[in-house]
């Protein structure tokens, strides 16, 4: 490897540019099928970043779940529904761009603040199992409550769409 992985790694820059560009195309494309395909390209770019940075499980799951399942289902739905994209009014677009810039700015500020903190020590398998046991023992009730909330939301959305 000629360039060490880092923020100025050309491969990371290429993948990040690819993801952002295809996300923009996904939103702005006139033909809705092209939008769906560029959404899939964005998922591919993100999983490539995960794989390149060594997050193997995360990258593979991103590939299998987002590209292989969600992306294909979105594409299928889009193809079945047909092309009926309504042009959005300009005001919403400006608001959206402003919100995106605010989120980006706060993320950048957050990351620079994180870099000033001392580096976190390595999280070993023991600590992971301790976190897991604390989650299941001390916060078990909270997790069950959150899970049932999530399930009821899913059922609710199904009921709303069936109406």
């Amino acid at each position: 490897m000629i360039f060490p992985p880092g923020p100025l790694d050309p491969i990371i820059i290429f993948l990040a540019t690819l993801s952002v560009m295809s996300a923009i195309i996904a939103l702005e494309s006139r033909q809705i099928v092209y939008g769906a395909v560029s959404l899939i390209v964005m998922f591919l770019g993100i999983s490539a970043i995960f794989l390149y940075l060594g997050g193997l499980y995360l990258g593979v799951v991103q590939l299998g779940v987002y590209v292989g399942a969600i992306g294909v289902l979105i594409l299928f739905a889009v193809i079945l529904v047909g092309e009926s994209r309504t042009p959005e009014p300009n005001v919403n677009r400006i608001i959206g761009a402003t919100a995106a810039m605010i989120v980006l700015g706060s993320l950048l500020v957050g990351f620079t603040a994180l870099q000033m903190l001392p580096a976190p020590h390595h999280v070993g398998a023991q600590e992971l199992s301790r976190i897991a046991s604390r989650l299941m023992r001390d916060y078990g009730l909270v997790i069950v409550a959150l899970g049932s909330l999530l399930a009821s939301t899913a059922f609710g959305s199904v009921m709303i769409t069936r109406r």
Binding site: I40, G64, V72, I79
Partner: protein
């Protein structure tokens, strides 16, 4: 030649050259000078067998896969003909029509790639290339021996299934871009079929992974030193074979292409080399699935007599491939509702049952 066809052909070759240059640059950035390494290894002898360029181009990459696919097409025709009391290929090459595949290849390459006026040209041209790319990607993660694997990856079983899940995408794109009712119906059928049979296949592949305690195919093979997982995980193996047949859209699961119902399904509008690419992609997928079956259930490169490990994998995977090709000739096509009912009903239940059976039998025989 139509002006549109010529433009597209020129732009396709242009983009192919551009993408080759991009791949070479990326390869140079990531891996250093690949070509020089290959030449050095080639001079030094057997070391070349593990060179990445050799692995991806000769064995088990492009050359091996293309030759096996060609042989498989010929054998499939002959077997189907013998079983159904027909003659099969007879004239090309004089002896039993042995050069029929070559003749078909030349015929396909010589034909014009017809692009109808109403298609979406970008995806119509991109879909066959994408399809073969995904097929080739699936063979890169399957190990033929501990050293003979194009892309060594720690969780390659999961990666294989992630790659296999891209196939419906190419069928959908081809079916939509063709702008034809038969193509769209075929694409929808392909999506239904492949999405519903991926889940039983993944669950039945989990049985050997659980018995070996690893998601790395190399570890799964090494765990079969004493006994192939075919015996404890027999139900999972049968389900895996059936689901793999459904994945490759062969009889009795030839529903997306059903000739007598929807012409040729999502490939209706394709002709010439793009059609060949689709066919090659199907056979590449079949080869990678049979090799994966060999690794998961038939103890991969381990064998009773000391042969080169790759030879064991290759021979076993050919036997599995032969089973695929024989089943194709034996059964008629089932209906789409029967296929869906079987996929989401009995196959799913049986795959879960097979998982438990494999664990129980594995505990009995002390794996």
């Amino acid at each position: 030649m139509d002006a549109q066809t010529k433009d597209v052909r020129d732009s396709v070759s242009f983009w192919l050259i551009i993408s080759l240059v991009v791949i070479l640059i990326i390869g140079w950035v990531v891996e250093g000078d690949v070509l020089i390494d290959f030449l050095v290894d080639l001079v030094s002898g057997p070391q070349v067998l593990t060179n990445p360029l050799f692995l991806s181009i000769v064995f088990p990459g492009l050359l091996y896969v293309s030759i096996v696919a060609a042989v498989a097409i010929y054998v499939e025709r002959k077997i189907a003909a013998k079983i159904q009391i027909r003659i099969g290929p007879q004239y090309a090459g004089r002896v039993e029509g042995i050069l029929q595949v070559v003749a078909d290849g030349i015929k396909m390459a010589a034909k014009e790639f017809v692009i109808p006026r109403t298609v979406d040209v970008t995806f119509f041209v991109a879909a066959p290339i994408l399809s073969l790319t995904v097929g080739m990607l699936s063979i890169t993660v399957v190990p033929f021996s501990p050293t003979t694997v194009i892309f060594p990856f720690p969780v390659n079983l999961l990666l294989f299934f992630a790659i296999v899940s891209f196939f419906p995408l190419t069928a959908l794109l081809a079916g939509w871009a063709s702008n034809n009712k038969f193509s769209l119906i075929g694409a929808a059928r392909a999506l239904f079929q492949q999405a519903s049979y991926e889940i039983p296949m993944l669950i039945s592949a989990l049985a050997p992974a659980l018995l070996a305690g690893s998601l790395r195919i190399e570890d799964i093979v090494m765990a079969q030193k004493d006994m192939p997982f075919l015996f404890p995980a027999i139900l999972s193996a049968i389900i895996f074979l059936a689901a793999a047949l459904a994945e490759t859209e062969k009889h009795p699961f030839e529903i997306p292409e059903a000739d007598s119902e929807i012409v040729a399904g999502w490939m209706t509008e394709y002709s010439s080399m793009p059609y060949t690419l689709f066919m090659l992609a199907v056979y590449v997928k079949m080869i990678s699935l049979s090799t994966l079956f060999t690794d998961l259930f038939l103890s991969g490169w381990l064998g009773p007599i000391s042969l080169p490990p790759e030879a064991w994998t290759v021979v076993k995977s050919w036997i599995v491939l032969l089973i695929f090709l024989t089943v194709r000739a034996l059964f008629p096509r089932i209906r789409i509702d029967q296929m869906l009912k079987m996929g989401w009903g009995s196959m799913l239940l049986l795959s879960v049952a097979g998982l438990f059976l494999a664990i129980a039998l594995g505990m009995v025989v002390g794996l």
